[in-house]
Symmetry: C2
Subunit: 263 residues, 2 copies
Protein backbone atom coordinates (compact mmCIF):
# COMPACT_ATOMS: atom_id res chain seq x y z
CA UNK A 1 0.00 0.00 0.00
CA UNK A 2 1.46 3.32 -1.07
CA UNK A 3 0.13 6.59 0.20
CA UNK A 4 0.00 9.77 -1.82
CA UNK A 5 2.09 12.59 -0.42
CA UNK A 6 0.64 16.02 -0.02
CA UNK A 7 3.95 17.58 0.96
CA UNK A 8 7.64 16.81 1.17
CA UNK A 9 7.63 15.58 4.69
CA UNK A 10 7.83 11.84 4.82
CA UNK A 11 6.39 11.79 8.25
CA UNK A 12 2.92 12.16 6.88
CA UNK A 13 3.23 8.67 5.51
CA UNK A 14 3.28 7.42 9.02
CA UNK A 15 -0.19 6.77 10.34
CA UNK A 16 0.05 6.76 14.06
CA UNK A 17 -3.44 5.33 14.52
CA UNK A 18 -3.23 2.45 12.09
CA UNK A 19 -3.22 -0.05 14.94
CA UNK A 20 -4.99 0.03 18.24
CA UNK A 21 -3.05 2.11 20.72
CA UNK A 22 -3.00 1.88 24.51
CA UNK A 23 -5.76 3.62 26.42
CA UNK A 24 -3.41 5.04 28.99
CA UNK A 25 -0.15 4.66 30.87
CA UNK A 26 -0.54 5.37 34.57
CA UNK A 27 2.11 5.42 37.24
CA UNK A 28 1.15 3.56 40.41
CA UNK A 29 3.18 4.12 43.51
CA UNK A 30 3.89 1.71 46.32
CA UNK A 31 4.51 4.11 49.18
CA UNK A 32 6.43 2.48 52.00
CA UNK A 33 6.90 3.94 55.41
CA UNK A 34 8.49 2.74 58.62
CA UNK A 35 6.26 3.37 61.58
CA UNK A 36 7.75 3.96 65.00
CA UNK A 37 5.85 2.87 68.06
CA UNK A 38 7.05 3.58 71.60
CA UNK A 39 7.32 0.60 73.85
CA UNK A 40 6.54 0.98 77.51
CA UNK A 41 9.33 -0.46 79.58
CA UNK A 42 10.97 0.48 82.82
CA UNK A 43 13.85 2.20 81.11
CA UNK A 44 14.47 3.68 77.71
CA UNK A 45 14.08 1.42 74.72
CA UNK A 46 14.17 1.67 70.97
CA UNK A 47 10.74 2.16 69.48
CA UNK A 48 9.29 -0.72 67.50
CA UNK A 49 9.57 -0.24 63.79
CA UNK A 50 7.28 -1.77 61.21
CA UNK A 51 7.22 -1.54 57.44
CA UNK A 52 3.88 -0.35 56.10
CA UNK A 53 2.40 0.37 52.75
CA UNK A 54 -0.11 3.11 51.98
CA UNK A 55 -3.30 2.24 50.12
CA UNK A 56 -6.37 4.15 49.09
CA UNK A 57 -9.88 2.82 49.07
CA UNK A 58 -11.36 3.22 45.62
CA UNK A 59 -14.63 5.13 45.37
CA UNK A 60 -15.53 4.53 41.74
CA UNK A 61 -15.57 1.92 39.05
CA UNK A 62 -13.58 -0.21 38.59
CA UNK A 63 -12.92 -2.00 41.87
CA UNK A 64 -15.03 0.47 43.87
CA UNK A 65 -14.68 -0.26 47.56
CA UNK A 66 -11.46 -2.19 47.12
CA UNK A 67 -8.04 -1.00 48.24
CA UNK A 68 -5.53 0.05 45.59
CA UNK A 69 -2.26 1.85 45.09
CA UNK A 70 -2.31 5.61 44.61
CA UNK A 71 -1.52 6.62 41.07
CA UNK A 72 -2.59 8.51 38.02
CA UNK A 73 -2.29 8.74 34.30
CA UNK A 74 0.78 10.05 32.53
CA UNK A 75 0.48 13.08 30.26
CA UNK A 76 2.19 13.51 26.92
CA UNK A 77 4.24 16.37 28.33
CA UNK A 78 6.05 14.36 30.96
CA UNK A 79 8.09 11.22 31.37
CA UNK A 80 6.72 8.44 33.52
CA UNK A 81 9.17 9.29 36.23
CA UNK A 82 7.79 12.81 36.23
CA UNK A 83 4.29 11.40 36.44
CA UNK A 84 5.32 9.45 39.49
CA UNK A 85 6.95 12.53 41.04
CA UNK A 86 3.81 14.53 40.43
CA UNK A 87 1.59 11.86 41.94
CA UNK A 88 3.86 11.50 44.91
CA UNK A 89 3.72 15.22 45.50
CA UNK A 90 -0.06 15.25 45.13
CA UNK A 91 -0.40 12.43 47.61
CA UNK A 92 2.01 13.73 50.22
CA UNK A 93 2.27 17.45 49.60
CA UNK A 94 6.05 17.22 49.64
CA UNK A 95 8.47 17.42 46.74
CA UNK A 96 9.63 14.07 45.55
CA UNK A 97 13.29 15.03 45.23
CA UNK A 98 13.72 14.83 48.96
CA UNK A 99 13.03 11.16 49.12
CA UNK A 100 13.53 7.87 47.42
CA UNK A 101 11.43 7.24 44.31
CA UNK A 102 12.41 4.35 42.12
CA UNK A 103 11.01 2.61 39.09
CA UNK A 104 9.80 -0.87 39.74
CA UNK A 105 8.45 -2.24 36.50
CA UNK A 106 5.70 -2.42 33.96
CA UNK A 107 2.42 -4.25 34.40
CA UNK A 108 0.75 -4.97 31.11
CA UNK A 109 -1.05 -8.28 31.27
CA UNK A 110 -4.07 -8.06 28.95
CA UNK A 111 -7.24 -7.59 30.96
CA UNK A 112 -5.51 -6.22 34.04
CA UNK A 113 -7.64 -3.08 33.89
CA UNK A 114 -11.33 -3.28 32.90
CA UNK A 115 -11.21 0.28 31.59
CA UNK A 116 -9.26 -0.82 28.55
CA UNK A 117 -5.72 -1.41 27.37
CA UNK A 118 -3.89 0.26 30.20
CA UNK A 119 -0.21 -0.29 30.74
CA UNK A 120 0.72 0.55 34.28
CA UNK A 121 4.12 1.60 35.54
CA UNK A 122 4.87 0.82 39.13
CA UNK A 123 7.19 2.84 41.32
CA UNK A 124 8.04 2.58 44.92
CA UNK A 125 8.73 5.42 47.29
CA UNK A 126 9.94 5.78 50.85
CA UNK A 127 7.93 8.32 52.80
CA UNK A 128 8.15 9.60 56.35
CA UNK A 129 5.46 8.32 58.63
CA UNK A 130 4.36 11.80 59.74
CA UNK A 131 3.54 12.83 56.18
CA UNK A 132 1.28 9.90 55.64
CA UNK A 133 -0.41 10.51 58.98
CA UNK A 134 -1.06 14.12 58.06
CA UNK A 135 -2.41 12.97 54.72
CA UNK A 136 -4.63 10.47 56.45
CA UNK A 137 -6.07 13.13 58.72
CA UNK A 138 -6.46 15.92 56.19
CA UNK A 139 -8.15 14.16 53.35
CA UNK A 140 -11.69 13.23 54.20
CA UNK A 141 -12.56 12.76 50.57
CA UNK A 142 -10.53 9.61 50.40
CA UNK A 143 -10.03 6.77 52.76
CA UNK A 144 -6.33 6.25 53.27
CA UNK A 145 -4.86 3.27 55.03
CA UNK A 146 -1.48 2.15 56.28
CA UNK A 147 -1.05 -1.60 56.31
CA UNK A 148 1.71 -4.04 57.05
CA UNK A 149 2.91 -6.01 54.07
CA UNK A 150 1.33 -9.11 55.47
CA UNK A 151 -2.06 -7.45 55.81
CA UNK A 152 -1.86 -6.00 52.33
CA UNK A 153 -0.85 -9.26 50.72
CA UNK A 154 -2.95 -11.69 52.68
CA UNK A 155 -6.01 -10.02 54.09
CA UNK A 156 -6.99 -7.10 51.91
CA UNK A 157 -9.02 -7.24 48.74
CA UNK A 158 -6.98 -5.30 46.27
CA UNK A 159 -8.01 -3.88 42.91
CA UNK A 160 -6.28 -4.52 39.58
CA UNK A 161 -3.06 -6.52 39.80
CA UNK A 162 -1.91 -4.41 42.70
CA UNK A 163 -1.25 -7.43 44.86
CA UNK A 164 1.43 -8.52 42.38
CA UNK A 165 2.87 -5.04 42.35
CA UNK A 166 3.08 -4.82 46.13
CA UNK A 167 4.67 -8.24 46.27
CA UNK A 168 7.28 -7.25 43.70
CA UNK A 169 7.90 -3.96 45.46
CA UNK A 170 8.41 -5.78 48.73
CA UNK A 171 11.00 -8.05 47.18
CA UNK A 172 12.72 -5.12 45.58
CA UNK A 173 12.89 -3.05 48.74
CA UNK A 174 14.37 -6.04 50.56
CA UNK A 175 17.03 -6.43 47.90
CA UNK A 176 17.77 -2.75 47.97
CA UNK A 177 17.98 -2.66 51.74
CA UNK A 178 20.75 -5.24 51.69
CA UNK A 179 22.62 -4.15 48.60
CA UNK A 180 22.39 -0.36 48.73
CA UNK A 181 22.24 2.31 51.40
CA UNK A 182 18.50 3.09 51.20
CA UNK A 183 18.45 2.44 54.93
CA UNK A 184 19.59 6.06 54.96
CA UNK A 185 16.14 7.14 53.85
CA UNK A 186 14.59 5.59 56.93
CA UNK A 187 16.99 7.16 59.40
CA UNK A 188 17.94 10.60 60.67
CA UNK A 189 21.26 11.89 59.30
CA UNK A 190 22.99 10.64 62.44
CA UNK A 191 21.96 7.39 64.00
CA UNK A 192 23.14 4.64 66.27
CA UNK A 193 24.05 1.19 65.06
CA UNK A 194 21.09 -0.31 66.91
CA UNK A 195 18.80 1.93 64.96
CA UNK A 196 20.41 0.91 61.68
CA UNK A 197 20.17 -2.74 62.59
CA UNK A 198 16.56 -2.32 63.58
CA UNK A 199 15.70 -0.61 60.29
CA UNK A 200 17.29 -3.43 58.34
CA UNK A 201 15.40 -6.01 60.34
CA UNK A 202 12.11 -4.18 59.92
CA UNK A 203 12.42 -4.46 56.15
CA UNK A 204 14.21 -7.81 55.97
CA UNK A 205 12.94 -9.78 58.96
CA UNK A 206 15.23 -12.74 58.41
CA UNK A 207 18.37 -10.65 58.43
CA UNK A 208 20.45 -11.96 61.32
CA UNK A 209 23.87 -10.66 62.19
CA UNK A 210 24.79 -11.19 65.82
CA UNK A 211 28.13 -9.46 65.42
CA UNK A 212 26.64 -6.57 63.45
CA UNK A 213 28.47 -3.80 65.30
CA UNK A 214 31.75 -5.62 65.03
CA UNK A 215 31.50 -6.27 61.37
CA UNK A 216 30.38 -2.89 60.25
CA UNK A 217 32.92 -1.01 62.30
CA UNK A 218 36.00 -3.18 62.02
CA UNK A 219 35.86 -4.87 58.66
CA UNK A 220 38.03 -3.05 56.20
CA UNK A 221 35.92 -3.92 53.19
CA UNK A 222 32.70 -2.66 54.75
CA UNK A 223 34.02 -0.02 57.06
CA UNK A 224 33.75 2.67 54.40
CA UNK A 225 29.98 2.93 54.14
CA UNK A 226 29.42 4.58 57.52
CA UNK A 227 31.61 6.72 59.76
CA UNK A 228 31.60 7.92 63.35
CA UNK A 229 30.20 11.36 63.99
CA UNK A 230 32.59 13.66 65.87
CA UNK A 231 32.40 17.22 67.13
CA UNK A 232 34.81 20.02 66.22
CA UNK A 233 37.36 18.81 68.76
CA UNK A 234 37.28 15.36 67.27
CA UNK A 235 35.45 13.82 70.21
CA UNK A 236 33.07 11.05 69.25
CA UNK A 237 29.41 12.04 69.59
CA UNK A 238 26.90 9.74 71.15
CA UNK A 239 23.23 9.64 71.96
CA UNK A 240 21.35 8.13 74.86
CA UNK A 241 17.94 8.79 73.40
CA UNK A 242 17.08 5.14 73.30
CA UNK A 243 19.34 3.64 75.91
CA UNK A 244 20.94 4.28 79.27
CA UNK A 245 24.43 3.92 78.04
CA UNK A 246 25.00 6.44 75.26
CA UNK A 247 25.62 4.90 71.86
CA UNK A 248 28.06 6.18 69.26
CA UNK A 249 26.43 8.10 66.44
CA UNK A 250 27.21 7.26 62.84
CA UNK A 251 26.40 8.70 59.46
CA UNK A 252 26.55 7.30 55.93
CA UNK A 253 29.59 8.37 53.97
CA UNK A 254 28.12 8.12 50.50
CA UNK A 255 30.43 5.28 49.62
CA UNK A 256 28.84 2.28 47.96
CA UNK A 257 30.66 -1.04 47.83
CA UNK A 258 30.35 -3.14 44.72
CA UNK A 259 29.11 -6.59 45.53
CA UNK A 260 30.16 -9.66 43.64
CA UNK A 261 29.44 -13.35 43.97
CA UNK A 262 32.85 -14.14 42.50
CA UNK A 263 35.09 -12.21 44.84
Amino acid sequence: MVMKMTDNSKQHMYDVKKYRTPDGAPADIVMFTLTKKERKTFTKTLPLRELKVMLIRRRSWPFAGKWALPGGFSRDTESLFETAQRELKEETGVDADARHLEYLGVYSKPGRDPRGWIISHAFFALVEEEILEKRQAADDAEEVGLFTIEEALEQLELGFDHRDIIQDAYHRIQEQMLSTVIAKKFLPPEFTLSELYQVIKAVVPDFEEPNFIRKITSTRSRKGIIEEVRDEQGNPLSSNQYSQRPAQLYRFTGLMPRLSIYS
Copy 2:
Protein backbone atom coordinates in the same frame (compact mmCIF):
# COMPACT_ATOMS: atom_id res chain seq x y z
CA MET B 1 -22.47 14.16 42.44
CA VAL B 2 -24.63 11.18 41.54
CA MET B 3 -25.16 10.10 37.98
CA LYS B 4 -28.19 8.35 36.60
CA MET B 5 -27.45 4.96 35.25
CA THR B 6 -28.90 3.74 31.98
CA ASP B 7 -28.07 0.15 32.76
CA ASN B 8 -26.57 -1.86 35.56
CA SER B 9 -23.04 -1.60 34.33
CA LYS B 10 -21.24 1.37 35.76
CA GLN B 11 -18.46 1.02 33.26
CA HIS B 12 -20.33 3.01 30.63
CA MET B 13 -19.68 6.08 32.71
CA TYR B 14 -16.00 5.75 32.04
CA ASP B 15 -14.79 7.45 28.87
CA VAL B 16 -11.50 5.93 27.94
CA LYS B 17 -10.66 8.56 25.34
CA LYS B 18 -11.33 11.66 27.40
CA TYR B 19 -7.62 12.51 27.49
CA ARG B 20 -4.91 12.01 24.93
CA THR B 21 -3.60 8.48 25.05
CA PRO B 22 -0.21 7.12 24.03
CA ASP B 23 0.40 6.36 20.36
CA GLY B 24 2.10 3.10 21.06
CA ALA B 25 4.16 1.04 23.46
CA PRO B 26 6.97 -0.79 21.71
CA ALA B 27 9.48 -3.20 23.19
CA ASP B 28 13.06 -2.54 22.13
CA ILE B 29 15.63 -5.21 22.75
CA VAL B 30 19.30 -4.81 23.47
CA MET B 31 20.64 -8.10 22.17
CA PHE B 32 24.02 -8.91 23.62
CA THR B 33 26.30 -11.61 22.41
CA LEU B 34 29.78 -12.74 23.27
CA THR B 35 31.85 -13.28 20.16
CA LYS B 36 34.62 -15.85 20.17
CA LYS B 37 37.61 -15.27 17.97
CA GLU B 38 40.40 -17.80 17.55
CA ARG B 39 43.85 -16.51 18.24
CA LYS B 40 46.70 -17.92 16.22
CA THR B 41 49.40 -19.06 18.57
CA PHE B 42 51.85 -21.91 18.58
CA THR B 43 49.74 -23.99 20.88
CA LYS B 44 46.13 -24.07 21.93
CA THR B 45 44.70 -20.93 23.46
CA LEU B 46 41.43 -19.67 24.70
CA PRO B 47 39.58 -17.72 22.01
CA LEU B 48 39.24 -13.99 22.56
CA ARG B 49 35.82 -13.02 23.79
CA GLU B 50 34.19 -9.70 23.23
CA LEU B 51 30.79 -8.34 24.25
CA LYS B 52 28.80 -7.08 21.29
CA VAL B 53 25.42 -5.58 20.75
CA MET B 54 23.20 -6.14 17.73
CA LEU B 55 21.78 -3.17 15.87
CA ILE B 56 19.72 -2.71 12.76
CA ARG B 57 20.11 0.06 10.26
CA ARG B 58 16.81 1.85 9.86
CA ARG B 59 15.43 2.11 6.34
CA SER B 60 12.50 4.42 6.90
CA TRP B 61 11.43 7.53 8.71
CA PRO B 62 12.23 8.39 11.42
CA PHE B 63 16.01 8.13 11.73
CA ALA B 64 16.37 6.47 8.32
CA GLY B 65 19.97 5.44 7.79
CA LYS B 66 20.78 5.49 11.49
CA TRP B 67 21.39 2.44 13.63
CA ALA B 68 18.78 1.44 16.18
CA LEU B 69 17.70 -1.38 18.44
CA PRO B 70 15.44 -4.07 17.05
CA GLY B 71 11.93 -3.83 18.41
CA GLY B 72 8.28 -3.59 17.67
CA PHE B 73 4.95 -2.44 18.97
CA SER B 74 3.03 -4.26 21.63
CA ARG B 75 -0.45 -5.55 20.86
CA ASP B 76 -3.42 -5.41 23.16
CA THR B 77 -3.47 -9.19 23.37
CA GLU B 78 -0.06 -9.57 24.96
CA SER B 79 1.99 -8.31 27.85
CA LEU B 80 5.12 -6.33 27.11
CA PHE B 81 7.24 -9.27 28.08
CA GLU B 82 5.40 -11.32 25.48
CA THR B 83 6.01 -8.57 22.95
CA ALA B 84 9.69 -8.79 23.68
CA GLN B 85 9.64 -12.58 23.42
CA ARG B 86 7.88 -12.35 20.09
CA GLU B 87 10.34 -9.78 18.77
CA LEU B 88 13.27 -11.79 19.97
CA LYS B 89 11.93 -14.84 18.19
CA GLU B 90 11.29 -12.85 15.02
CA GLU B 91 14.82 -11.48 15.11
CA THR B 92 16.62 -14.71 15.89
CA GLY B 93 14.30 -17.48 14.80
CA VAL B 94 14.72 -19.17 18.14
CA ASP B 95 12.29 -19.39 21.04
CA ALA B 96 13.01 -16.89 23.75
CA ASP B 97 12.53 -19.34 26.64
CA ALA B 98 15.90 -20.85 25.98
CA ARG B 99 17.80 -17.73 26.77
CA HIS B 100 17.96 -14.76 29.03
CA LEU B 101 15.43 -12.01 28.40
CA GLU B 102 15.03 -9.39 31.07
CA TYR B 103 13.15 -6.16 31.46
CA LEU B 104 15.35 -3.12 31.61
CA GLY B 105 13.11 -0.09 31.95
CA VAL B 106 10.78 2.40 30.41
CA TYR B 107 11.81 5.28 28.16
CA SER B 108 9.19 7.95 27.99
CA LYS B 109 10.82 11.35 27.70
CA PRO B 110 8.47 13.57 25.68
CA GLY B 111 9.75 13.97 22.13
CA ARG B 112 11.87 10.84 22.18
CA ASP B 113 10.03 9.51 19.13
CA PRO B 114 8.99 11.88 16.33
CA ARG B 115 6.12 9.61 15.39
CA GLY B 116 4.18 10.69 18.46
CA TRP B 117 3.71 9.86 22.10
CA ILE B 118 5.46 6.55 22.16
CA ILE B 119 6.49 4.95 25.42
CA SER B 120 9.21 2.44 24.82
CA HIS B 121 10.06 -0.55 26.97
CA ALA B 122 13.60 -1.74 26.84
CA PHE B 123 14.66 -5.33 27.40
CA PHE B 124 17.99 -6.97 27.14
CA ALA B 125 18.69 -10.45 25.88
CA LEU B 126 21.69 -12.73 25.70
CA VAL B 127 21.96 -14.47 22.36
CA GLU B 128 24.42 -16.98 20.95
CA GLU B 129 26.82 -15.55 18.43
CA GLU B 130 25.98 -18.13 15.76
CA ILE B 131 22.35 -17.13 15.71
CA LEU B 132 23.14 -13.53 15.07
CA GLU B 133 25.59 -14.48 12.36
CA LYS B 134 22.97 -16.59 10.66
CA ARG B 135 20.54 -13.72 10.93
CA GLN B 136 23.11 -11.36 9.49
CA ALA B 137 23.67 -13.60 6.48
CA ALA B 138 20.07 -14.57 5.81
CA ASP B 139 18.33 -11.25 5.89
CA ASP B 140 19.25 -9.11 2.97
CA ALA B 141 16.29 -6.86 3.54
CA GLU B 142 17.85 -5.37 6.59
CA GLU B 143 21.35 -4.37 7.43
CA VAL B 144 22.30 -5.99 10.68
CA GLY B 145 25.43 -5.12 12.61
CA LEU B 146 27.30 -6.43 15.63
CA PHE B 147 29.22 -3.75 17.47
CA THR B 148 31.27 -3.55 20.60
CA ILE B 149 29.75 -1.43 23.33
CA GLU B 150 32.39 1.20 22.78
CA GLU B 151 31.60 1.47 19.08
CA ALA B 152 27.89 1.62 19.72
CA LEU B 153 28.18 4.28 22.39
CA GLU B 154 30.91 6.43 20.95
CA GLN B 155 31.07 6.10 17.20
CA LEU B 156 27.67 5.20 15.86
CA GLU B 157 24.83 7.55 15.10
CA LEU B 158 21.89 6.02 16.85
CA GLY B 159 18.21 6.74 16.41
CA PHE B 160 15.77 7.71 19.18
CA ASP B 161 17.20 7.58 22.69
CA HIS B 162 18.76 4.23 21.97
CA ARG B 163 22.17 5.38 23.09
CA ASP B 164 20.77 5.89 26.59
CA ILE B 165 19.13 2.50 26.47
CA ILE B 166 22.31 0.74 25.42
CA GLN B 167 24.25 2.53 28.11
CA ASP B 168 21.73 1.49 30.75
CA ALA B 169 21.68 -2.06 29.44
CA TYR B 170 25.46 -2.21 29.63
CA HIS B 171 25.42 -1.12 33.25
CA ARG B 172 22.74 -3.61 34.04
CA ILE B 173 24.45 -6.55 32.41
CA GLN B 174 27.63 -5.70 34.31
CA GLU B 175 25.74 -5.66 37.58
CA GLN B 176 24.03 -8.90 36.74
CA MET B 177 27.26 -10.56 35.72
CA LEU B 178 28.72 -9.94 39.17
CA SER B 179 25.65 -10.48 41.30
CA THR B 180 23.87 -13.35 39.56
CA VAL B 181 24.83 -16.40 37.54
CA ILE B 182 23.98 -15.04 34.07
CA ALA B 183 27.53 -16.01 33.13
CA LYS B 184 25.85 -19.37 32.66
CA LYS B 185 24.08 -18.04 29.58
CA PHE B 186 27.38 -17.29 27.90
CA LEU B 187 28.91 -20.68 28.60
CA PRO B 188 28.35 -24.30 27.65
CA PRO B 189 26.79 -26.42 30.42
CA GLU B 190 30.25 -27.58 31.41
CA PHE B 191 33.15 -25.18 31.34
CA THR B 192 36.58 -24.56 32.73
CA LEU B 193 37.34 -21.87 35.27
CA SER B 194 39.44 -19.98 32.75
CA GLU B 195 36.44 -19.76 30.48
CA LEU B 196 34.27 -18.49 33.30
CA TYR B 197 36.87 -15.93 34.27
CA GLN B 198 37.21 -14.83 30.70
CA VAL B 199 33.46 -14.41 30.28
CA ILE B 200 33.28 -12.27 33.39
CA LYS B 201 36.17 -10.14 32.18
CA ALA B 202 34.63 -9.73 28.74
CA VAL B 203 31.53 -8.19 30.29
CA VAL B 204 33.18 -6.42 33.22
CA PRO B 205 36.65 -5.46 31.98
CA ASP B 206 37.84 -4.09 35.30
CA PHE B 207 37.05 -7.27 37.18
CA GLU B 208 40.38 -8.47 38.56
CA GLU B 209 40.77 -11.52 40.72
CA PRO B 210 44.23 -13.01 40.57
CA ASN B 211 43.32 -15.86 42.90
CA PHE B 212 40.06 -16.57 41.07
CA ILE B 213 40.44 -20.35 40.99
CA ARG B 214 41.38 -20.42 44.64
CA LYS B 215 38.52 -18.37 45.80
CA ILE B 216 35.79 -19.98 43.87
CA THR B 217 36.85 -23.51 44.65
CA SER B 218 37.95 -23.27 48.26
CA THR B 219 35.89 -20.54 49.86
CA ARG B 220 33.05 -22.12 51.74
CA SER B 221 30.66 -19.23 51.25
CA ARG B 222 31.10 -19.12 47.50
CA LYS B 223 31.90 -22.72 46.78
CA GLY B 224 28.25 -23.63 46.35
CA ILE B 225 27.56 -21.84 43.10
CA ILE B 226 29.59 -24.19 40.89
CA GLU B 227 30.64 -27.82 41.24
CA GLU B 228 33.14 -30.16 39.61
CA VAL B 229 31.84 -32.36 36.83
CA ARG B 230 32.54 -36.06 37.39
CA ASP B 231 31.79 -39.21 35.38
CA GLU B 232 29.82 -42.24 36.62
CA GLN B 233 32.82 -43.59 38.48
CA GLY B 234 33.28 -40.30 40.25
CA ASN B 235 36.41 -39.35 38.35
CA PRO B 236 36.78 -35.65 37.71
CA LEU B 237 36.24 -34.72 34.08
CA SER B 238 38.52 -32.29 32.35
CA SER B 239 38.95 -30.71 28.97
CA ASN B 240 42.02 -29.74 27.04
CA GLN B 241 40.13 -27.98 24.31
CA TYR B 242 41.81 -24.69 25.03
CA SER B 243 45.02 -25.69 26.74
CA GLN B 244 47.73 -28.28 26.78
CA ARG B 245 47.16 -29.26 30.32
CA PRO B 246 43.57 -30.44 30.72
CA ALA B 247 41.44 -28.26 32.97
CA GLN B 248 38.79 -29.42 35.38
CA LEU B 249 35.26 -28.95 34.11
CA TYR B 250 32.66 -27.25 36.28
CA ARG B 251 28.95 -26.61 36.07
CA PHE B 252 26.62 -24.19 37.85
CA THR B 253 24.66 -25.76 40.66
CA GLY B 254 21.66 -23.46 40.58
CA LEU B 255 22.51 -22.05 43.97
CA MET B 256 22.43 -18.29 44.29
CA PRO B 257 24.09 -16.58 47.23
CA ARG B 258 22.37 -13.57 48.71
CA LEU B 259 24.67 -10.58 48.75
CA SER B 260 24.62 -7.95 51.45
CA ILE B 261 26.66 -4.89 52.19
CA TYR B 262 26.03 -5.39 55.90
CA SER B 263 27.28 -8.94 56.34
